[in-house]
Symmetry: C3
Subunit: 371 residues, 3 copies
């Protein structure tokens, strides 16, 4: 049975997304190497092949080229030539406003100069922007403050989080999830902080302080995001398997815990979203990097996770193409997937539309209290 | 090339399944919270979102609603209102007889009062019912008996297994598969049993006694089932990866070992079914919980496992919808999958029909000696 | 939008493949048990079910039967009867020439008498043949030589590699990837070699000497292949997860590292191909064993790996059906997959054709310097 799914397609095309995990666009111009490297997430060194020769590269050419007035599948040289004719912030405006997003939740923990901040993102997109505070950045700032580390961290975290909608941990990049993640004692924290400060207090790797930060974040009562799975090779991918968070999750009560990206552990993450009332799952940057293969990934996100526990984000960082492309690939993938469910009469069309709204914005609006 | 696959579809629709791993239906009425929680396997606490907002919930509304005289996709409120008008055993009769199953292999290790036993299941369904004995239950009973534990366990196991077709282990829930699974010595067993009995002899977690139980079960010469992968969060999912059973499997000779559920490790389980003459794989409850996505899972079961090593079960427990729905989703998924193989001329239609029979019943009939 | 993809289909059908990891065909006749066991990779014992009852068995009947003049899906008995009428080398000629391969890269580390060598493969196929030297075989030969082990190994490796295009490690079968893979000291090597030689110097399992071999191979400046994932049960599959190679890969600079087979870790392997400029991924024997399900596997290879980092191989060993079937399944799977990308306008057709050429031959020609 093939139903009339024009309503579903139209709804998916029009729904305004909440991008619940994103970073700033580049605000300064750069060279082609910078751009091509930004099409490769995992490699932390200059890539020696073309960044365009990937699912993400092909997806940029297919879906971003028309935004710049080029035909679909414009070749890499043509794409780059056209792109460099634009001022970086004109590009940002173009892609951010084309994305069909109402709210951006910006993790401000990376970037520095040359990357748009919260106010810049609001101005460029014309949308609402909310901050997500990165715990490891707070720790590294607290290490430089005078006095007791725990107090400094707690004060700074509360101050920064007061204006933010949630926090984020990159524990995955600082040793991974394996091992004890219980709350350390005051003495342990003090000793660890002293050692770290003696060593300079930069790039937090100390497990005691990482654990301390997580438990402090839980006390804020706001959602806590975790980088999970796919990222750059500084992370040992198998130590970013979310199942290694099981013991930690058992102690997080009702604070929303959001698992980001997740590839190739999205089925494990979906299981956790079923197993814990407070766990949420989001495909994040995996969608962009999977390009023409993103539908299969989105399908796996719709397996074990309850539909009230699935979120959308692009994890865009750097080229504004990523902030835009995430929404295009999500809409295309979800439309094909749900249309298939509806065509086979496994789901009704109104149910499909309701699930779109949950994932596109309602789940995020609810847990981040976006009003 | 598109062949005429009406024969295949008809055959899949009509074949009587052997549900080789199932539990009793509820025999007593319950409230909506009980029902909605039964739509969530992984969460062992009361769920705070609707159990209907999941692939399983949508599948219940799509495929079970018509059995109760409702339209497909009836909304949750309408479904619940109709369901509660029935006596629980009338529901059981309705769903069990609609399932198209000839034999139920009932694991009697959970349930107690309020759950149908072996005789109840036979009476309600009108089908043959066979018992599968849970090893950890036998151990917990033996702990309460006087005299030597090993003797008590062995006697009780042989007595109970005499009328049963196989045994089952929930080692996955009692510490997982990681670590030594060799047979312990008589002295080790006696010491472990003494310690356990001193502590009360309830909920077996002792590794020595768990290992002892497995090796005793192997001596019975009947199939031994293992819970693998997907289950509730008492189980550390990554410790229920069947690859951790490799060393144990290397010593199991020709006793059939059946890996149940397996998600998200079904490809690993299929590999083991290829690697060992005596290992079998079954998707169990994963099919129900994947709903509209179950076809993709069933497809992965048809990868590395030889076709003579794949089984069917629903793992239904509680609402009789599950005992019925497993068969609906299995038939729908397998039909689409095999029709695709046949349409592309990768398989012949007679081969497809033969594989259906193997998985639906012949493999189970053979290893459990169901006559 | 459905484009005219006849060009793509024709191109995929005609492109000459480089089979970058293969072994010799049988050169001597054998019985049916030998043949059926060769349809099962994982089981290292005589199989007790029919080897034909598997995706590989069905694929042989579908795609190899016509090469022998039988109808598609000829039954196992008919297939075997026809097959045994041929001289083994006539079969080899038939299947090797039908494969559409231009170059075979032969790992000579298994086989011995009864298996075609490099010169035989060239003669039988009429194609170019290049050798890949297995490190563990070199070690076992060096153990039997007089004098310092490290010197003997190094000399022998350089001599054998001089005429070869690369090396291969089966570390996966000799304890797996888990643990330290750094280069051992001269003293450690000397001590380990002495211990090993005292024990007979057969079947290398010593970690120090395995590590030594890997680092010696890197110094050759030629690609180093690793068996990854799916293989026989001598290998602990979970210890052949390529993510356990992360630390080793971080130190391999620009020597091409080729991850073979990979199932069920192909997504992890693809990630590594994105993360490291020098890492390549190949589905190897998984394609044959997945038969009608190989398209889904090939699709996963086209996820995170840059297109310049994906290779083709059959890993054929024994029956020449495997050398041929790998190309059939690869062509069929890739055609359906890329046609889908093109039909949905996610990829352009010229891009699809270019990616076919990269995977089919250009990537391999480049890294093995095949001219």
């Amino acid at each position: 049975m093939v139903s009339d799914t024009r309503d579903l397609a139209q709804h998916i095309g029009e729904v305004a997304l909440i991008d619940q995990h994103v970073h700033g666009c580049w605000s300064a111009p750069g060279d082609r190497q910078r751009f091509e490297n930004a099409l490769n997430e995992a490699n932390s060194e200059p890539i020696t092949h073309s960044g365009f020769d990937s699912q993400l590269g092909f997806a940029v050419r297919a879906h971003c080229a028309p935004v710049l007035g080029l035909p679909k599948h414009a070749d890499p040289q043509a794409y780059w030539e056209r792109r460099r004719q634009f001022d970086e912030n004109d590009l940002n405006r173009l892609f951010l406003t084309a994305a069909g997003v109402s709210d951006w939740l910006v993790d401000t923990g990376i970037g520095g100069t040359g990357v748009a901040g919260v106010a810049d993102m609001a101005r460029l997109s014309g949308n609402r922007v909310h901050e997500v505070v990165r715990l490891e950045e707070v720790a590294e700032q607290a290490a430089q403050l005078p006095g007791d580390y725990a107090t400094a961290f707690g004060d700074l975290l509360r101050r920064r989080a007061a204006g933010a909608v949630g926090t984020k941990s990159i524990l995955a990049y600082r040793g991974g999830f394996d091992g004890d993640l219980s709350e350390p004692s005051t003495t342990e924290v003090a000793e660890a902080a002293a050692r770290w400060r003696e060593g300079g207090g930069t790039r937090l790797q100390d497990r005691v302080l990482l654990r301390f930060g997580l438990h402090q974040a839980l006390r804020l009562g706001k959602p806590l995001q975790f980088h999970v799975g796919f990222g750059d090779r500084d992370c040992d991918l198998h130590k970013a398997n979310p199942l290694l968070l099981l013991d930690f999750l058992r102690g997080t009560a009702d604070i929303p815990i959001v698992l980001l990206h997740c590839y190739p552990y999205e089925r494990e993450a979906g299981y956790l979203a079923q197993a814990f009332n407070n766990v949420y799952v989001d495909g994040g940057l995996s969608v962009n990097h999977l390009g023409a293969r993103s539908r299969a990934f989105l399908a796996r996100l719709l397996e074990m996770a309850p539909f009230s526990k699935i979120l959308y984000s692009s994890d865009g960082f750097g080229p504004a193409e990523l902030h835009f492309l995430g929404t295009v690939l999500w809409r295309r993938g979800v439309e094909r997937l749900l249309r298939e469910f509806v065509d086979r009469d496994d789901w009704s069309e109104p149910d499909a539309i309701r699930v779109v709204d949950l994932i596109a914005r309602e789940n995020a609006a609810r847990i981040y209290d976006l009003g």
